[in-house]
């Protein structure tokens, strides 16, 4: 029976997240077969099996963050032992006794290392006994000048609540400031540690990138948002008809697709929406082809890959391109290049059951269209009759430096016209 402990795959990493198991209990694996994909602070990594045999136990579930040195899989010979409950992945791997650490494996956690170092046998003093009892605490991360500041201010770094992963100068100063007025009456001092009723999540990865992009966009491009409510019953009829068409059998046909096409058509009359403000060059750059960004919600956050040359694609090719982009995004495999160079973005907030909103521009673009939820609503028809129709709201945000109200309104009205009556596409 062989246990495989999570290795340090990147020089000094302490943990990794299990992204996906490639094997299940009962599977037979050969040496160097890929068994699991993990994500570290540095990269996505596929781990090959060091052992050949039958998978007995997976010690962590997908989504779990596991410390380096903890077992993640047990591989043995022959058939898996019976008893389903014991085989189920545990949400968090059990603490692994120090004595079971395999000295051959390189993966070492800093905590474990401290324990080994502290176990001194001579001289047999009181101090060494005390050290045994001390719960090994991790040294807080801080740069040397910050450590010096803390020392100067008499602040114990382990008591400082860090706003990020590393204690900053500001954290130390805030801690010192909060502590000072309370000193005469220590009982009233605010708790220096994180209260139980809040969770602190480090800002990193897609979240950090999204935040930076949104701040940059919201505070540089003056946004204007316009709405139009439109009867899209004919678009829904078209979607139903195309779904039955053999040419569209292998692609996903949806109102999003028709909206994407409508955007490309409307762009012909109002290319200002396919432009960007180049502040450095003091120029407005009008793009000749439409790289249509499709906002996709993924487990790791919002990503906006774009369909290159969307305006030159036939409807079926556009459907295939959108399908591939969103599938890649959901798998977390979007390449950085697929997210750059976009010229306009379509976001479908309707999938969340939302009517409309004021979308923020993807930085470097001048327009973003939000498609609201499509619902049966009462509608007054040409004969003054109230009839149930498929109705949605389109919301367009545009960069007012590049696009005036006239162009923005015309563009939105054109998109709405195509969705109201797809036959209008012939007029573009």
């Amino acid at each position: 029976m062989n246990e495989f402990a999570l290795p340090d795959v990147g020089e000094g990493l302490t943990e990794a997240e299990i992204i996906g198991w490639r094997v299940a209990v009962g599977d037979t694996v050969e040496v160097n077969d890929v068994i699991v994909e993990i994500e570290t602070a540095k990269s996505l990594v596929e781990l090959p099996s060091p052992y050949a045999g039958v998978v007995r136990t997976l010690h962590a579930a997908e989504g779990d963050t596991v410390e380096v040195g903890r077992p993640i899989i047990t591989i043995g010979d022959g058939a898996p032992a019976s008893g389903g409950a014991a085989e189920a992945p545990r949400p968090e791997s059990q603490p692994h006794p120090e004595t079971e650490r395999q000295p051959m494996l390189v993966g070492y956690g800093p905590g474990a290392e401290q324990l080994v170092r502290r176990r001194r046998m001579a001289p047999p003093s009181v101090a060494s006994v005390d050290l045994e009892k001390v719960k090994p605490t991790r040294r807080p991360l801080a740069k040397p000048p910050v450590r010096k500041l803390a020392k100067d201010l008499g602040v114990d770094l382990s008591e400082v609540v860090a706003t990020g992963e590393v204690v900053t100068r500001a954290d130390v100063e805030a801690h010192a400031a909060a502590r000072q007025p309370a000193e005469p009456t220590p009982a009233l001092a605010p708790s220096p540690t994180t209260p139980d009723d809040e969770t602190r999540i480090p800002i990193k990865g897609v979240r950090k990138w999204t935040a930076e992009a949104m701040v940059r966009s919201a505070f540089t491009a003056p946004h204007v948002t316009e709405w139009v409510t439109v009867d899209v019953s004919r678009t829904m009829e078209l979607v139903a008809r195309l779904k039955g068409d053999r040419a569209f059998a292998d692609v996903r046909v949806s109102p999003t697709l028709i909206a994407a096409k409508a955007i490309c058509l409307a762009m012909r009359r109002t290319p200002e929406l396919n432009a960007r403000w180049d502040d450095e060059a003091q120029e407005i750059v009008v793009k000749r082809s439409v790289n249509l960004g499709i906002a996709a919600a993924t487990e790791r956050g919002l990503v906006v890959p774009n369909v290159v040359g969307a305006d030159r694609l036939s409807l079926v090719d556009l459907a295939a391109a959108i399908g591939e982009l969103t599938a890649t995004a959901r798998e977390g495999r979007t390449q950085p290049a697929q997210m750059s160079g976009g010229t306009f973005t379509l976001t479908n907030i309707g999938v969340f059951g939302i009517d409309a909103g004021t979308p923020i521009l993807n930085p470097g673009e001048s327009g973003i269209l939000a498609l609201g939820s499509i619902e049966r609503r009462p509608w007054v028809d040409d004969h003054d009759q109230v009839v149930p129709r498929w109705v949605t709201t389109l919301a367009l945000s545009f960069d007012h430096r590049v696009v005036d109200g006239e162009q923005g309104s015309r563009f939105l009205a054109d998109v709405a016209a195509v969705l109201r009556d797809p036959a209008m596409a012939l007029t573009f």
């Binding site: 795959v9 990147g10 040496v31 160097n32 540095k42 290392e113 080994v116 170092r117 176990r119 390449q335």
Partner: protein, 373 residues
Amino acid sequence: MSSSTDPIPEVPLVQLLAPSGERMTDPQHSFDGDRAEIEALYRDLVMTRRVDTEAYALQRHGELGLWPPALGQEAAQIGSARALRDHDFAFPTYRDHGVAWCRGVDPTLLLGIFRGADLGGWDPADHGLALPNIIIGAQTLHATGYAMALSLEGLVGTGDPDRDSAVIAYFGDGATSQGDVSEALDWAAVHQSPVVFFCENNHYAISVPVASQTRVPIVQRAAGFGLPGVRVDGNDVLACLAVTRRALQRARDGEGPTLIEAVTYRMGAHTTSDDPSRYRDAAEVDGWKAKDPLDRVRRLLVAEGTTDQFFADLEDEADALGLRLRTACQQIPEPDLAELFDHVFVESTVENRQQQAEHVAWRDSIEGSVVAS
């Protein structure tokens, strides 16, 4: 205005074997070996790739702290190193596993340094191969110094093939931005030292593309220092062999140094610690996959009548080597840190011995076996 991402101007490459497996001709270089010699080169390529992929997997198993993959650069390493004679001397980078293979170093000896178990596994004098240098480009100075010594000792330009010797210094495209490399090129040119500067331009210095590293093709730097430069297809083992043979012979004959730029591509990560998909496109990697250094030799051999049995036997031999590496890696003994003190001086000092004794006393005060870290 031009920017740092402008493409570097193209300079023609010496090519003797196209990716399709067809032979090509060059006015100044040729490969005259028979099929047996090409089969031997192919074996070198396959075994080097197996050493590399197996060690990469060993890192993912947690058996190595780090591994710098050579994937994609095998032809540049094998072609150049097979041009060396026994009494020549090579100064490699940490990625030149194929050079170590050609110099007769047992591949299991490459693992210790990346397991943190030793400081390099072989005696440089036994193999004519220095230990891998981690400091980027510093080995070009060591090579130049060694080459100067060859001249001073009268081992260059005597006309006696058993006596005349040369040196080869390996480095990457990133290293060309280091002052050390410029100093080495200049010194070697001024003193006409018998050294070949072999740059494996694999297009990336960790994440920095070569276009951000230099405004001219690397080979053009040779002209500025006053030595000849040759640009060769680094994925073409026959061309690398021919070009390096010629450059080494010039050096042995006392005609001075040469700069060779072998244009290749790092197919994998810089090391096991980084994620290349964050800084380069899959399409770029796919383009280089089509220029694989092994595939083209295999195509040539198949066309020239090499048997299926040869390829099957080679696969078995590679599998056996893979198993031997895995087993050997786990059997590398835990290092005794006290030994470090033995390697500080040729003849130890009182202070050094004292420090060693202090370390041993501290080590022995700790219960049980100590984790080497």
